[in-house]
């Protein structure tokens, strides 16, 4: 590395206005945000071109995009504690579940002291604080252990919560299926101000026609996509801010060498507790968004340990300890799932449509190509994801974003910022 230019650049940065430096380091963020913002209309346009079959088969549809958002936020909250302090929170699903169940129960008027009409944004935050408290309670016991024992004890706590909600008649008439949201549609925006609140939901949410007279229609699902996206974005920046604060540096110090951090004089126990609390808070926000959009929650989609396992897998694929990486990992996962399922387009119907009948009915060793497609491709996302996961662990152990950072020798934001700095001169 050329150290001379490095130091001059560093000195130049000292003199520069902090706002400009800040903006430059956020160029990659802006690009990603812009991509997610313009993707749906472009996808809509592509569906009206001759390429519609390909677009439908290979690009993710809006339903998957929304799942990408709240599951991505959940994965980032998992990475916040697991990737930055090194304590694998295998019970993270419990916090996701608390957020999800809480907003449904409040909306149904089942929580004493909180009226059913309380705005969603408020109940979402209260649910987050509840998860924060739960994390402190679980952490008080679990942080006496480390390594695999910490992972196991948090998993144990989450399984207890799972069994509890699955059999607790208070949460739903049929607790095994979980509660459904019966109140009005949850709204994201400023509480009590109707004009700046947007209703969520697949069919029942707000929709906008002919936006700004540009002939763009935004469906209810798409409206939810943008509203949920805004919350996820805010949460991401909040977590990013924490990680780049002195608090975050201590979290990384704990991950790198906990004894050393304690020997500097940091009370590592409380740093871990508070970090765990924050990560639980954002996991609960993700759960609340999920429940609001799906108008309900079930134990198997929230408190179950496989929900945590999904977060772990996308975190490894995206890059553990990179915060944004797990989000990209989730995007990759959802994209793969979209291609391999036939819920919204997908590869299987595409192949059936494009291959001539003669090929489809051709017989290979007793089965036809059409059967092969049905068996191997359609709805087989988990199988392929498993293979992809194994390949990542073997060949890309740092994950997508982790490998990019290693290659650049810095975070993408700092790297791009440095590059732009040179062009400016």
């Amino acid at each position: 590395m050329d150290t001379v230019t490095d130091t001059t650049a560093a000195h130049a940065r000292d003199d520069e206005h902090w706002l400009r430096e800040y903006a430059r380091e956020h160029v990659p963020h802006l690009l990603v945000i812009a991509l997610f913002a313009v993707y749906p209309p472009i996808y809509g346009l592509l569906l009206r071109t001759p390429l519609s079959a390909e677009a439908n088969a290979f690009l993710p549809g809006t339903t998957f995009l929304i799942a990408m958002l709240f599951l991505g936020l959940f994965a980032m909250s998992f990475d916040f504690i697991s990737g930055y302090t090194g304590y694998l929170s295998f019970g993270h699903a419990a916090f996701y579940g608390v957020g999800a169940y809480f907003i449904v129960l409040v909306a149904n008027g089942d929580v004493p002291g909180i009226p059913a009409g309380t705005p969603f944004v408020i109940t979402m935050i209260v649910g987050g604080l509840l998860a924060f408290g739960l994390a402190l309670a679980i952490g008080a016991v679990s942080f006496r252990l480390s390594g695999v024992y910490f992972a196991m004890i948090t998993l144990g706590f989450a399984q207890v919560a799972y069994e509890l909600v699955r059999n607790w008649n208070y949460v739903a008439v049929n607790p095994q299926d979980g509660p459904t949201l019966s109140g009005p549609t949850p709204e994201i925006g400023i509480p009590y101000v109707d004009s700046v609140s947007i209703a969520l939901g697949r069919l029942a949410g707000d929709s906008f026609e002919n936006v700004l007279g540009l002939g763009i229609d935004i469906s209810a699902t798409l409206t939810s996509y943008y509203a949920i996206g805004a919350v996820v974005l805010l949460s991401y920046f909040a977590m990013q801010r924490l990680i780049h604060s002195p608090f975050g540096r201590v979290m990384i110090a704990i991950r790198e060498n906990e004894e050393r951090a304690a020997a500097i004089g940091y009370n590592v126990f409380w740093y871990k507790m508070v970090a765990f609390g924050f990560s639980a808070f954002f996991a609960a926000i993700a759960g609340a968004l999920f429940a609001a959009f799906s108008r309900g929650a079930s134990p198997d989609e929230t408190f179950y340990f496989l929900v945590t396992a999904d977060a772990l897998i996308v975190t490894i694929v995206g890059g553990i300890g990179t915060l944004a990486g797990p989000f990209f990992g989730t995007a990759f996962y959802e994209w793969l799932e979209d291609i391999l399922s036939s819920e919204q387009g997908g590869l299987a119907p595409y192949l059936r449509g494009i291959l001539p009948d003669g090929v489809l009915t051709a017989d290979i060793a007793g089965i036809t190509i059409a059967d092969l497609i049905n068996t191997v491709v359609d709805g087989r996302a988990p199988l392929f994801l498993g293979i992809v996961f194994v390949l990542f662990v073997l060949f890309v152990p740092n994950g997508l974003l982790g490998s990019v950072r290693d290659r650049l020798g810095n975070t993408v934001g700092k790297y791009v910022g440095g590059r732009l700095e040179r062009y400016r001169r």
Partner: protein
């Protein structure tokens, strides 16, 4: 009153009885070397002082106060710094962040940073580099620099010369001399001539107890009472 005083310290790892009654005292602004063969309890002594492995019996007194059984961050907060063996950096933090994390919130970070970067110009050049990408010698400099910031009255240094090229060792020794002007040093060192050169007094450990101690002046490895314990 000594700055640091260990009285009949017994420390265990699980069931293994490592320190079997260590007594030692360190006076203000001296350099004390702990020497002895591998596995005699030198590092464990440092860990017992910091309460990373709390002693089961005996007392550790720092500035006259009994700190036995306190939590590590409390003991460290009283003014003890640690330069662990194998350097143990916070690898994913940059050089500057490594220094910053070691500066207590109430201290003046700018002043502390200037102080260590004056002492180690190499570190300033690499201040934006992640610590894991530094060379072994640079990492050791950073580890010592980190121990020196934050107004520590006592610095525990574990194997500072381990695995370093002779030229780099000289730089490290210079850095330690520089550090000793400000704080008291307790040094664990395998390199006997280096330890004798640097330290004012020494404690020789064997089987978890102090077997010899005294001033380092004129002591050589050929000395009978030393050779008995150091040669294999």
């Amino acid at each position: 009153m000594s700055l640091l005083e260990l009285t009949d310290v017994h420390t265990y790892y699980g069931e293994s009885h490592i320190l079997q009654g260590v007594d030692l005292a360190v006076e203000e602004s001296e350099i004390v070397a702990l020497i002895g063969r591998n596995g005699v309890g030198k590092t464990t002594t440092l860990r017992s002082i910091l309460q990373l492995t709390p002693p089961r019996e005996g007392t550790v007194r720092f500035k006259g106060e009994d700190v036995t059984g306190d939590s590590t961050h409390d003991v460290a907060g009283r003014g003890i710094g640690w330069v662990p063996e194998e350097r143990r950096m916070f690898g994913y933090l940059t050089v500057e962040e490594n220094v910053r994390v070691a500066v207590p919130p109430e201290a003046d970070f700018e002043a502390e940073r200037e102080y260590v970067f004056d002492l180690f110009p190499d570190l300033e050049r690499f201040r934006e580099k992640e610590a894991r990408n530094l060379s072994g010698g640079q990492q050791q400099m950073l580890a010592i620099a980190r121990g020196m910031v934050g107004n520590n009255d006592l610095l525990l240094v574990d194997e500072p010369s381990e695995g370093l090229a002779p030229l780099i060792v000289e730089q490290v020794v210079d850095a330690l001399r520089e550090a000793s002007a400000e704080t008291t040093l307790v040094l664990v060192e395998q390199n006997f001539p280096l330890a004798m050169d640097l330290a004012d007094r020494f404690y020789l450990l064997d089987h978890g107890t102090v077997v010899e101690s005294g001033a380092t002046d004129g002591v050589t490895a050929d000395d009978d009472r030393i050779r008995r314990y150091l040669s294999a």
